[in-house]
Symmetry: C2
Subunit: 295 residues, 2 copies
DNA sequence: GGAAGCCATCGGGCGTCCCGATTGCGCTTT
DNA sequence: AAAGCGCAATCGGGACGCCCGATGGCTTCC
């Protein structure tokens, strides 16, 4: 039963029988009959089929909610028993927005320091993907913006508020300024993240409120590209404080704080809401709370 | 896996391998190996064993929480799919405190009127048992006091507040009084419920606050016994309004309202807290809300 | 019209589950 | 101290279900 629910979840995620089977390490016929049997046991058609996968039926959508809950709880049961067997151990999968990667790294390092038998996978993902992956049980927790998208049934632990810095070469005209207003950035050659990324949308809003348009001459989905561009030309970019400090370190770059908008851009840890928490997840939430920059 | 979790829950409930097996309709060896396999799969000893059942280990206690969640959600998945297949149908098991039985009856009747394909089992139980049975998945919902014991992870729907009446024969000295104070009951020959029942404890408290002792000459765990005693002798009893009206109807008995203590004694529907609700349970909660006596 | 992709079905081998019978252990009784 | 009894574990077998590779029917894309 649980195995079939896992098949169903994989199928809903992959939207394709073959790929779902591969992702579970079974063959396509096995998955096919598994879904059929699940449908028989529940007495309901879950999947719209032609000769191709055609999406879930309405009943399938409802069943998916329960399936995720059941399979998730089953994994949590296993995890917790393993933890009680061999101490706090296991594997945590995190998905993190690019601008919070240094924080994720710190969090993972500190956590691993305290609990050496817990290992990590840290993926860089867009904020919308993080919520999907949480739903699909592909990750155990994420780090993302807490105040933009509707978050759903999750627990959050605030970590910090993003404040931004202009990153430019040491020989740039603005390099020696103490602070800057967003309004002063209008005439610069900007490298920014691509518009589908939340961080870029936040920056766009700041520009808009300053009466400017955030026209980036170079866009990328990687912060490394942004900084390396700044190094090689007379470009500038805008990055959160911590990440800017990390990427600029040891390079001939200057960082100039931008007037911060304290209302928003709160970043924090996001985990599935559940009762009770497994020891490992509880420990992660605790570690995040310790790490949180005091407001 | 789920089957084994059901075995584990049954074992925790029955505290006895043989009885647990019978309650599941399987043999004792099957249950025995099932538990063993569950322990192997989780890598943890769940049950303390000598040559007898010796209680759950601490890990077993923790695992039981998850097992109940998983098995409960699995049943809810099945229920919901059946509902979407053949409309609102199925079976609801309620456990109800004795003094609320008439309300339970009304609730079940009205619900069945609206949804004829849903059938009911209504059990009379003490309030503490109701919570245990909810935990053990033996019932789907209960009717009990909302404000006395700690309720745990449940949803509640208030139904009414208990107000009490003295029940006596028509020829009793107090039969014609409009109202009574608790303090006036000190000298009467009382039949009351047994002290382990919550209703009796509430009445005890009322007596205590009136400076009296609630010494019952006859005790029973059945309200039928109480009323039939009142009929045959010069006894009196104390019952909630609705139940008193029901039991006294057509008999030579008088009902005299007692000064009510509006603070407490709230009675309502109790169901496991869960997200989302199955259609049947949602409908029951809705019906309870409609039925609730306006405060 | 041919090729490729996709899902369903088929048949066989293997694993697992369940049951009845029996054994082994510990407590109680005499 | 020995017998009796209740309880859980173990054993051996028969049956069922699951998984896989192979294949077939259908659709879509060149």
């Amino acid at each position: 039963m649980i195995a079939k629910l896992e098949m169903f979840i994989a199928l809903a995620r992959e939207q394709h029988f073959g790929r779902a089977a591969v992702s579970l390490g079974i063959t396509q016929p096995t998955l096919s009959t598994g879904i059929r049997q699940l449908e028989e046991q529940l007495g309901v058609k879950l999947v719209q089929r032609g000769s191709r996968f055609g999406g879930l039926t309405p009943e399938g959508q409802r069943a998916l909610v329960w399936a995720r809950q059941i399979v998730g709880d089953t994994r949590r049961l296993r995890d917790e028993m393993r933890a009680s067997r061999e101490g706090l151990a296991g594997h945590l999968r995190l998905a993190v927005i690019p601008t919070a990667l240094t924080w994720a790294s710190t969090l993972a390092a500190r956590f691993n320091d305290r609990h050496p038998r817990v290992t990590f996978t840290v993926l860089s993902r867009a904020s919308a993907d993080i919520l999907t992956m949480l739903d699909d049980l592909e990750i155990d927790a994420g780090i993302s913006y807490l105040d933009n998208e509707p978050l759903g049934r999750v627990t959050t632990r605030p970590l910090y508020r993003e404040a931004y810095q202009l990153v430019c070469r040491e020989d740039h005209p603005l390099a020696d300024r103490e602070t800057l207003d967003w309004a002063e950035l209008g005439s610069l050659k900007l490298c920014l993240l691509t518009p589908e990324m939340q961080n870029r949308r936040i920056i766009n809003r700041q520009f808009m409120e300053a009466g400017l348009e955030a026209g980036a001459a170079i866009e990328s989905n990687s912060t490394v590209v942004l900084v390396s561009n700044v190094l090689t030309g007379d470009w500038v970019t805008i990055l959160p404080t911590d990440l800017a400090g990390f990427l600029a370190e040891g390079k001939p770059l200057s960082l100039v704080p931008l007037a911060s908008d304290s209302r928003a851009h709160e970043v924090g840890l996001i985990a599935p809401w559940q009762e009770p928490y497994t020891p490992v997840l509880q420990a992660l939430l605790d570690e995040a709370q310790r790490l949180a920059r005091p407001a």
